[in-house]
Symmetry: C2
Subunit: 319 residues, 2 copies
């Protein structure tokens, strides 16, 4: 069995168990086409890479691709979607860190942390009133594992939560109520926080545009830890400029790294971070371990963990 690892400057550690059962090839975007012939298993460690589509004709023996990320939007293309190649992702690794990151962003706004830091830099003592987070209300768009972890953490600190997804339902174990994400505009105005963690698909792309933003409370804030393309960037900039919403915490962007000329950098009520919300110390080791576990299942003929529904673009159930 040949296992190929598509990587950038970072290489995974702890793959000894894979090396014992397979020939392991290492490839970068430039050398992937050379490495693919004969490859049965591909680990996409460089998860922002688009290299596979170009090298696809060389994939003569490929049966399974494992992605070291939760979102697989970068990877999926028609040839792969319509093939028999199984895709798995790294669901579970990022849940708690991302949920904590969302809570950190909300508390930073509620307790005016950015202003405190800027006043500190000027050695200025200026008392302000803070906001209480408990009793506020959030809509979490995305009802996968990360959205569920966010919902649980927010509820634990007294925030009311509803979910938004493709199917309306009540009695959900994590969300209670799940509303239709297509109808977001009609109920987003009832909430103080809009948290975006949906996978990027044709249905979710640019879901948050002018109309949803206009429907938000002027005191509400947007948190995006999903994908930049869930939001229409220029509409967000306009709503921040016109103060039609109170702020945004953005960890993901339509173009990454966020270009220096983006107006988003300069707003005092926008928090920018560089796509790091899920990357708690040790994340690479946990990603490698999950892959090793799945390789062991593959070799044993057991069911793989985190099989992606390639039509939908995410893990559809507790696989």
């Amino acid at each position: 069995m040949i296992v190929t690892i598509l990587h950038d400057e970072h290489l995974p550690d702890g793959l000894g168990a894979v090396e014992r059962v397979a020939e392991v090839r290492y490839a970068t975007a430039d050398t992937l086409a050379e490495a693919l012939p004969g490859t049965e298993v591909l680990l996409v460690w460089d998860f922002f890479s688009h290299a596979l589509e170009a090298a696809w004709p060389a994939a003569d023996s490929l049966r399974w691709i494992h992605v070291a990320a939760a979102g697989v939007d970068t990877l999926l293309f028609d040839g792969l979607v319509n093939s028999d190649v199984v895709v798995t992702n790294s669901r579970g690794i990022f849940d708690r860190p991302i949920a904590e990151f969302v809570l950190a962003s909300m508390l930073a706004f509620a307790k005016d942390v950015p202003r405190s830091l800027r006043l500190q830099d000027g050695r200025l003592w200026r008392h302000r009133e803070t906001e209480q987070l408990a009793g506020t209300s959030a809509v979490v768009v995305g009802t996968g594992a990360i959205g569920r972890e966010i919902a649980g953490l927010l509820r634990a600190v007294g925030v009311e939560v509803v979910g938004a997804g493709r199917r309306e339902r009540s009695g959900d174990p994590d969300f209670g109520e799940v509303r239709l994400s297509d109808d977001l505009e009609s109920y987003v105005g009832d909430h103080d926080w809009l948290v975006m963690v949906a996978p990027l698909t044709e249905q979710t792309e640019h879901m948050v545009g002018e109309r949803v933003l206009a429907a938000m409370k002027p005191t509400a804030r947007l948190i995006n830890v999903g994908r930049g393309e869930l939001v229409v960037t220029e509409d967000l900039v306009a709503s921040i400029e016109s103060r039609s919403i109170a702020g945004a915490a953005l960890d993901v962007f339509e173009t990454e790294p966020l270009p220096a000329e983006s107006p988003l950098w300069r707003f005092e009520n926008v928090l920018i971070s560089p796509h790091m919300s899920g990357d708690a110390r040790g994340w690479r080791d946990r990603l490698a371990k999950l892959f090793v576990d799945n390789v062991e299942r593959y070799v044993a003929g057991d069911g793989l963990r985190n099989v992606v529904d390639k039509q939908r673009g995410y893990v559809a159930s507790d696989s």
Copy 2:
């Protein structure tokens, strides 16, 4: 009945119910001695004021003092402590906001929020790994209502908590284990966070000095939302400078406002805020309402809420 209100530039709202049952006098530090003769009830609305001690000889009819703060250290002096005058405080108003503020500070450190903001100001995209808060461990010094609220909130987000107080015990409903605060040095090294919320008394003054700081993990951080005098400021500065601890979030200081020349302002791993952790929007209204409620109890001859043990310097039980 005469009720006198000691205030600064802020006046309490919503005292109509008091005005209906009493003559209400308004006084500042300068005019307190004139207002006190005949006064039966004093509301210390300007809770940082030391004016009462100087005006004490004029307090010929005083029976009850209500303080619009949780800490009464600024108010207590021997003449008052040894008198029959009852002191009540505003326990309960600040609990949740302060607990959220502590959590906000911890998450700001864990998720590297200050560095993200400084990078944002420079329009710089620099990926970093974050810390996971769940699974870390905190010791909360102060087992009053605010300490209990902090313990509950931290546990809700997966932080392990022990309390530290005057009496060792296990099976505490909020803390589980409570250790002796006098022995802090011997166990503080087992924890990632040291949260100070004890009342300022002779026993707690300068509790966190060179020895406790030296016993902390180099990765641990101090959060002080109690009183500045709980900490030896120059020892804290030394331990930040020598990196013997990883950081501090300070909302209270030995001198307030923190003087511009203080070295604390300039550390990137120290978060400074201006004694605002409890002051969530609407706090003044809630303080006034608590006083009105206590006046109604006083007039009805019912027991007052939040009676302070003047010898100990805080509300000793659920009164």
